[in-house]
Symmetry: C2
Subunit: 297 residues, 2 copies
């Protein structure tokens, strides 16, 4: 059997996720119409879907059913999308461009953007609570707790709070790392672990994937920092140069360009190493790791 | 055995809930400190705890363990508190007073208030996903789905969107009812049903409690409308006269004062009737129904 190349696999999963998200979101003509239109506007038709790709790639190690992975990956992606909508609000990053389109509060209004984020978070947990074939209800409760923890004040929302407090402050590299582990790392780790849970992974396997995801989360952020400084707004689909404009500490400002690239290389190597026990079954995770490094947006 | 009077029972449950909420919330000195302080500021030390009281009262019909009821009631209350924090934001109701204290964005800042709401919602689902003695994991997943649905775009967040869209518009009474069923009714119903689930209620029992909770939800809102117009800011602990100032349709403006009171009386009677099959076991729900009518804030 020949295995499809990475770009083909990536596109296949992205299409599956687009379809799944569309089916979970309320119809655009069901009331409240404006809210549901806005929920679909921010969720559909864009994004790299890095978290769903990680979820699928991890699940494939264990031969997890694709439909079950679509389900849990959709829940994770909705948590991610809600955080983008709230982060873009005037009280936070005050951004006007996201995934190449006007941000939610620009296209609709602030109150709608606030409610869109709130409702997407609820919907994510609703999806994650629907029964998953071959997954015991006990394991699914653990998965829900994992997702809730990754999203909350000790995860993503907490990282955002640290980020806000740190803007304009000088940070140590360990503080920067702590912030990113919370702000983006935990949800990336959750996406990976949830995919493995769907496949019935054992504790030692989850442990190794947790180590992998920790490196991937940081790697993703280091590359993000480099792209923010070096790529164009057009290429990114979001405002470039925001970190410098906001006087934010980044891996680039703390380390410099060449050491930041070297740090990324080391994280990339450690991520690959963490997958060693899975052999060829981890092909997609290896490919995803390389993709995260070479991506242009 | 003598049964404690309602005020004593109410205070006992309120104290239990205060304690439970405090134990579930991250410590005020754990990072991110400002976020955790703000989460505790908005959640602790105030509020009538109507939803936890309903949850306990419904659970007591079936002899549910109090600690398990504390757990699920805390999850519901956190969903409620997060919605208050977001509703008070300048982009929404722009309010400065809540439970007799400055609102979160006034006491802290807008970005913190946004994240407090987000993190409280995550924490609510984290609490609801922790195992509950004597409740099967399958039932608990159903309970999580119920809570998520009540909070989302077809429940509380959706009702808030309809409310925003309706401000300044003329509404029919059926539209007003639809808005309130979503905005407050569904979470009140969820609180009641979740308490019953913890006690192992059967489908027909849940059905009757659902009917009860539907009437209670509307009753609560009619009385809220009357209090907003007739009580003082001091007595309410939140800004009085907001509906009129915002030119909002309310039961009072649509029906007039006397018919609104008569409507409340009818709802109150129907709520009591819906409990008939539970006999004396529903004592606390009967008492709560009367309390909702005579409350002063």
């Amino acid at each position: 059997m020949t295995v499809a190349g990475f770009p083909i696999w990536q596109q296949l999963i992205q299409e599956r996720i687009e379809q799944a998200l569309g089916s979970y979101l309320p119809a655009a003509d069901s009331p409240p119409v404006r809210l549901h239109q806005a929920m679909r506007y921010v969720t559909l038709g864009g994004g790299k879907r890095v978290r769903p790709l990680l979820c699928h790639a991890a699940g494939e190690i264990f031969g997890a059913p694709l439909a079950a992975l679509d389900q849990i990956a959709s829940a994770v992606e909705m948590i991610h999308v809600y955080s983008l909508v709230h982060d873009d609000l005037p009280a936070m990053d005050n951004d006007v461009l996201r995934r190449g389109k006007p941000t939610c509060h620009v296209q609709f209004d602030e109150a709608t953007a606030l409610l869109v984020g709130d409702a997407l978070q609820s919907l994510a947990f609703h999806i994650a609570a629907q029964s998953i074939p071959n997954v015991t209800a006990e394991r699914q409760l653990d998965m829900l707790a994992l997702l809730a923890n990754a999203a909350g004040s000790r995860g993503m929302a907490g990282g955002q709070a640290i980020d806000l407090a740190a803007t304009g402050q000088s940070l140590e590299i360990v503080e920067l790392e702590f912030m990113h582990v919370q702000k983006t790392g935990q949800l990336i780790q959750a996406a990976t672990l949830l995919g493995a849970h769907v496949g019935g992974a054992h504790p030692d396997e989850l442990h190794n994937l947790g180590r992998f995801a920790n490196r991937i989360g940081l790697l993703f952020q280091v590359i993000d920092d480099i792209l923010d400084a070096e790529a164009s707004t057009d290429a990114l689909g979001k405002t470039a140069g925001k970190d410098a404009a906001a006087n934010k500490a980044t891996y680039l400002t703390l380390l410099g360009s060449k050491p930041a690239r070297a740090f990324a290389d080391r994280l990339c190597m450690e991520a690959h190493e963490a997958l060693s026990s899975f052999g060829d079954n981890a092909l997609r995770l290896h490919q995803l790791t390389d993709y995260i490094v070479v991506r242009k947006n």
